[in-house]
Amino acid sequence: MNGPLWMGIIFVATMVIGVPIPFAAGLAAIAGVYIIDMPMTLLAQSAYTAFESFPLVTIPLFTLAGKLMERGGMSEHLITISKRLVGSFKGGMGMVTVVACMFFAALSGSGPATTAAIGSITIPGMIKEGYKPRFAGAIAAAGGALGSMIPPSNLLIIYALSSDQSIPRLFLAGIIPGLFLTLLLLLVTFVLSMRHNYGGSDVRFSIGLLLRAVWEGKWAIGAPVIILGGIYTGVFTPTEAAAVAVFYGFFVGLFIYRKLTWMGLYESLKFTAVIIGTVLFILGSSKAFGQMVTLYDIPEQISTIFAVFESTPWMVMLVIGLIYVIAGMWIETVPQVIIFTAVFFPYVQSLGIDPILFGIFTVMTCEVGFLTPPIGVNLFVASRISKTTIEDVSIGVLPFLLPYIFIIILMAFFSSWVTFLPDLVYGPQL
């Protein structure tokens, strides 16, 4: 019997009729273990051992830190700074959303969390200024995707663990594409606002006001300095930095901005538990899934299929990118990164494609999937806040996909602009 085929069929079929994704992966893993005739206790064992990795703790920590910072009033300060920075341009509130998402992305490792934290404040603001709800929701969804690109990033951590790469290196590599993406998103917002004639705020740009907002928001701006600065000066490991971020968010929220309550702390813990219980939970079932991939020699089969492209790296990358985008429309990003990295990474590495570049590429293509229906979590969050349908926001988000696609293609052809920063700090990858 053809194991991988059956696993694929069961995974897709159970998912389509409505089995939640981690459990659909679990059912597929049972089939795989059965066909290959291994003991079923393997599943029970990997349900625990899949989580026995210390760097993995970073993910719940950054999720919790982001939530605490949001509840603690940091997102308001970031929005105020963004308003003083870009608010007076055409489409001011839209651009404020993008810039605030960029700042928040440096606190949080998650895309939907960024959309929720910034969008819940700026989407109503945009609608009040006469923006179409569809457009307002789309900006927040597209900007929120920066949360996974700009370090810290949960997806990059997952990639690092699946491919055995260095987390700090990947974080550094995410900075330039993240900033570049922000600029392109600002450009799209600006052009669309010109067309629809959305105005800016009445307050003219003034360096004095900007500096004052920065000073008042210093504790919010200070968080990424401590988190990333701590990692790169070698003061903390990424995991420790994440724990420091949790306590920083906690203390600033409780004692300095005084927006965080004990109830808010409890709610944040509960929120984190539900997020990791629904998203990270899949690691337990997909570890067995991943072992099956290795046992069935799928990477070997992949290279046979890809031989059609005569091992031209850019062509292979574009094809993989296309597969990722299509898969990303259906699967949650975390399981997608785990499953597909296991499948494609060995082959990609054998072609001599830089593993760090491929990590950024993976996250970027998954983000496109995140922004396209039917399973776009960012769209879902944004549509709930802007009180429109998910279909409506997914039409609105189309122009914002252009920057993503542009960067993906750019990465397939040129790699040095992504790997430049990590190579500069850590020396070239061996």
Partner: protein, 163 residues
């Protein structure tokens, strides 16, 4: 009195467990940072405790998500179906889901029996590895109970929707 206790357990049991596990996880790593700078040494138990904290958070969080119906399903196909068929599909998928939970529970009981006949001491904490591993069967039982509860609430018409 008894009913009140059940009510409180129903509302807060997983939530409080998760909060405790996640707080332990965060505090341990923070403590490690402090210890490392003050005493210049890192201890192995910190990693073990924080990993146990995360695993507890994940599995009891998953049980919490069963109760709150927060697990992510692909609803795109479901929503295209007529209402009757949609309900049938959800019930079938939940039977499969339940089947998986029961299967995994049986397997983990077999595995736990194995763990109770062998010795593996966690190097940092100095306790048997089987104790933290109990999180898996316990949380699976919780998930099964919570799923039955979702259906009881639906059949007794306390909840209108299944998902």
């Amino acid at each position: 009195m008894f009913g009140k206790i059940i009510g409180l357990l129903d509302k807060y049991f997983e939530e409080v467990l998760c909060a405790v596990f996640l707080t332990t996880m965060s505090s341990c790593i923070m403590l490690q940072v402090v210890l490392r700078y003050v005493f210049g040494e890192a201890s192995a138990w910190v990693e073990e405790v924080s990993i146990i904290g995360m695993i507890g958070g994940v599995y009891f969080g998953a049980a919490l998500a069963v109760r709150n119906k927060d697990h992510l399903r692909i609803v795109f196909v479901l929503n295209m179906m007529p209402k009757r068929l949609k309900t049938i599909m959800i019930i079938v998928s939940d039977i499969l889901w339940m089947g998986f939970l029961i299967f995994l529970l049986l397997q983990s009981i077999i595995f736990m029996k194995l763990l109770f006949t062998t010795h593996y001491i966690l190097p940092g904490l100095g306790i048997e590895n089987r104790w933290p591993q109990l999180i898996i069967p316990i949380s699976l039982v919780l998930m099964i109970i919570r799923m039955v509860q979702v259906y009881v609430r639906w059949i007794t018409k306390k909840d209108k929707e299944l998902i």
